[in-house]
Symmetry: C2
Subunit: 326 residues, 2 copies
């Protein structure tokens, strides 16, 4: 079996560290692995598959290593500065930032949803926004079957989505990372605000939904909210379809889609919750019920581990997709 | 100035205790006041306006006191058993439970929204659901001006809505009150589940919205969620209107409505949040922005103190409404 040279940029961060765990856990076929970071974290040691590695400082020459895959998980500025250099070295970049997601020649991939697009890459593949990934998994089979007309998202996002800074604010009750205390509070504010009154996070959900489903006719709006939860995002999704449906069709369509798990037995208080889902690679869907306020309307509730399926796992799955077709 | 004989049923609970504070704070004209509760809490002493009172056990004879107003805040079963007796004694019952809300001859009152209906009572006036109250305040002036076609609610509800049991579960990280741990979690489950897959809380928001706005043509759906916040509910509201609007009209309509405060300066990270709103009697509205996914669409975010405006303050305001017309 062929083995690959892999580098992880931002390996000391929350998503980068989880990429390592996922590469280990899924036994990704690795020949050589390199860990790259800013000057601040360079020199630290990282253990991977029982070996110790020293984190190297990222610079223009970091990619002269016949790399096959470079995972970027160090934020938008680092991706903006170094991703193209990495791609030009011949590696495929899988980028967790939002920098390239909406670029026309950059595929935006959720492996269960639009795998073929990954092969149209020009060296950079974008990993979608975490809340979008966990929403798009249930949306894809429903769209294929009943054609989505409109989507309304309201999110309940965990502090791990902001990295270690967010977790510290929650656990220490301070406000070093967020502009306001997050403990015992809700902040309708994720990423920065745009002139149209939406946050960047909201516009990511709106635009990425259309791009991944490859259908600009779908109408989407979003309200994204940080809640005092350590890990796993929840999303309340309201859907309107072109086609009529029966509820048993909805269940069948969802339960047969890879990566989606139905957890919906409300009479026994069973529904997806962050505490149950943390550590899982699946997207859990529950509270599935007809919305009687519109023709062909449906309400659902999804929960997923935003660091795993919402980031690290999805990124590694993209690489797996490419090597399985080699 | 005329003074009134008042009784509070459930005075030792979270809402009942806040009714006392609100009666004191607003200097409600009281001749005599009585505190009634279950056998368990009877005999306790309560201080009100610098006097000490002994809590009496509630029974069929508790209302033989020429009472003018009886506030019920002891849950649905107590209201079901005693509210009609209290009303038959000649008092006006202001009931915080959901038992009578949808009954045809029981007015469901938010004083800023439908004050005149309060005078059509037959001895019982219902105080609406907490999440409904804080949603209906901004909805009312928008409905009057642009006519609401459809409302989609997603709530972020504080544990104080469950009384002291909910607060203890959050603060002690246990699950004595809720079926699952609420700390660092989200529970898409408030009140019990119905056969249609909705919770009673969701159906309250749907049905009470139509009743208070006195318009059954409005389409409403809801997803209600408990979040690990001590006090103050937040609601993400998506609206579709019959009439077109300009954003400056929306701001004007909202800011001129009593009980509504706009808090919407996102460039300076200003938006309504539970920690800021706790203790206030107003409903705060922010994140006001056009929803581009539908004609005449609008997204807003409301936060209010669910124990005060969502329960105690609204109840006392109903009584004030009646005495000011005497």
């Amino acid at each position: 079996m062929k083995k690959y040279n892999v580098a992880v940029v931002g390996a000391t961060g929350l998503v980068g560290g989880t990429i390592l765990k996922v590469l280990e856990g899924r036994n990704f076929p690795i020949e050589n692995i390199y860990f790259l970071s800013s000057k601040k974290s360079a020199g630290n040691s990282i253990s991977f598959k029982n070996n110790k590695y020293i984190v190297e400082e990222l610079d223009e020459n970091s990619f002269d290593k016949s790399l096959d895959f470079v995972f970027f998980a160090a934020g938008g500025q680092v991706s903006e500065r170094f991703a193209k250099t990495a791609a030009n070295s011949g590696a495929v970049v899988i980028d967790n930032s939002s920098v390239f997601r909406m670029e026309k020649d950059v595929p935006l991939i959720v492996p269960e949803v639009n795998p073929k697009k990954a092969f149209d890459n020009h060296g950079i593949i974008a990993n979608p926004n975490c809340s979008t990934i966990q929403s798009i998994l249930p949306l894809k089979p429903l769209h294929d079957r009943f054609k989505i007309r409109r989507v309304i998202y309201s999110t309940y996002q965990a502090v791990s989505g902001s990295g270690m800074g967010g977790i510290r604010d929650l656990e220490e009750g301070e406000m070093k990372f967020y502009p306001h205390q997050i403990r015992s509070n809700t902040l309708p504010h994720i990423d920065s605000f745009l002139d149209n009154g939406y946050t960047k996070e909201e516009m990511k959900m709106i635009n990425e939904t259309k791009k991944i489903l490859n259908d600009d006719s779908i109408k989407v709006t979003a309200t994204t909210v940080r809640v005092p939860v350590k890990n796993c995002h929840s999303v309340s999704i309201n859907l309107e379809f072109e086609e009529p449906f029966e509820m048993d069709q909805v269940y069948k369509v969802l339960e047969s889609f890879p990566g989606v798990k139905i957890k919906d037995d409300v009479k026994n208080n069973v529904y997806p919750m962050p505490l149950d889902v943390s550590g899982s690679d699946d997207v859990y869907v529950g509270r599935i019920r007809r919305d009687f306020s519109v023709d062909n309307g449906l309400n659902i509730w999804t929960v997923a581990d935003n660091i795993r399926k919402g980031a690290a796992t999805n990124a590694v799955q993209i690489a797996e997709l490419l090597i399985n077709k080699h």
